[in-house]
């Protein structure tokens, strides 16, 4: 329900996964507040990310019913982003499933290249290899953006350079190894 300040407290029907500390552990983190009428698309996305991260942190899997309740209890606008949240919290899948899904558009998902396209092209790898079915997977759009952010930003793990810079000039196999590891560590690909 919307409060006087025009913000809503998210209420979801959720299925908690059993976790250590469920009995007598610390109380669950409060759900994020979401604006009833966000001022911009950026504000909408920020709220969607906060909902997805909150659900992830407390180990929840949102049921299909939750999508309806998000719309009814919080704000209608977030309903259109429900597939984004659902995709964000999806269980990891085998590689062949992610690859075969690449040809079928799904809301809240993107086609992701295991070996990044532009840097690979810049290093002289051929399009046939970059755009091959083995290199294309369908993943959550929000996780796709997180992986892109990780590739683009400086990182202590790579001597304060970005992973993208680190991989410059490296062979295809090294790029595949890092790209697959990113998918596994993101909880997208079954190890």
């Amino acid at each position: 329900m919307a409060g006087d300040d025009g913000r809503s407290r998210l209420r979801l029907t959720i299925t908690p996964l059993p976790r250590i500390g469920d009995n007598g552990g610390p109380p669950m983190e409060e759900p994020p507040e979401i604006p009833t009428r966000p001022s911009s698309q950026r504000a909408q996305l920020r709220a969607v990310v906060r909902v997805a991260l909150w659900a992830a942190r407390i180990g929840l899997r949102v049921t299909p019913l939750a999508g309806v309740l998000i719309a009814a209890e919080a704000a209608y606008w977030i309903y259109q982003y429900y597939p984004w949240i659902e995709a964000y919290l999806a269980e990891p899948a085998p590689l062949h499933e992610l690859q075969s899904a690449a040809s079928t558009p799904q809301p809240g998902t993107d086609v992701h290249h295991i070996v990044e396209q532009s840097p690979a092209r810049a290093d002289g790898f051929l399009d046939e290899r970059i755009e091959a079915p083995e290199n294309r997977v369908r993943i959550s759009r929000l996780k796709h953006w997180e992986i892109n952010r990780w590739y683009a930003t400086p990182n202590k793990d790579f001597g304060n350079q970005s992973p993208r810079n680190y991989l410059r000039g490296k062979d295809w196999e090294t790029r595949v190894r890092v790209g697959r590891d990113a998918l596994i560590r993101q909880g997208l690909l079954k190890p």
């Binding site: 950026r42 996305l45 920020r46 990310v49 906060r50 997805a52 991260l53 659900a55 992830a56 942190r57 180990g59 964000y88 919290l89 953006w145 997180e146 992986i147 952010r149 990780w150 683009a152 930003t153 400086p154 202590k156 793990d157 790579f158 001597g159 304060n160 992973p163 680190y166 590891d181 990113a182 596994i184 560590r185 993101q186 909880g187």
Partner: protein, 123 residues
């Protein structure tokens, strides 16, 4: 932008600023604001460098942050204490990887891979 690092900072001031920067990094991540994240990264690098240069390597003052309630603070503290408290820092990274579907689990996992492959050698 004016530096937030005070003249002749104390250990406590640097640790407090480290926490502030980590929390702002989390916000920058939520906004997918790479430019802001990058600026904060280099600011944190400077703070860590100042702690490292202090007599006795005062990065050890970041070790209590491994228990911080915020996941991003825990992550940044773990990466910054691998050289001074390797076991506790690594245990924190491993614990973060178990909080699945969070950016911190992802970053912590990639850090462990870099450590195990010898790409990242904390000094």
């Amino acid at each position: 932008m004016k530096s937030r690092i005070p003249q002749n900072p104390s250990v406590e001031e640097l640790v407090a600023l480290f926490v502030t920067i980590a929390l702002e990094q989390e916000e920058a991540n939520i906004d997918f604001d790479t430019k802001r994240f990058n600026r904060l990264f280099w600011e944190m690098d400077k703070v860590e460098g100042l702690l490292k240069a202090m007599p006795g390597d005062k990065r050890s003052a970041l070790v209590p942050l491994l228990q911080h309630p915020n996941l991003e603070v825990r992550l940044r503290a773990a990466k910054s204490t691998l050289a001074v408290a390797p076991e506790a820092a690594r245990a924190t990274l491993e614990a973060l990887t178990r909080i699945t579907h969070t950016p911190q689990a992802f970053d912590a996992g990639m850090c462990l891979s870099a450590l195990d492959q010898g790409i990242f050698k904390p000094t």
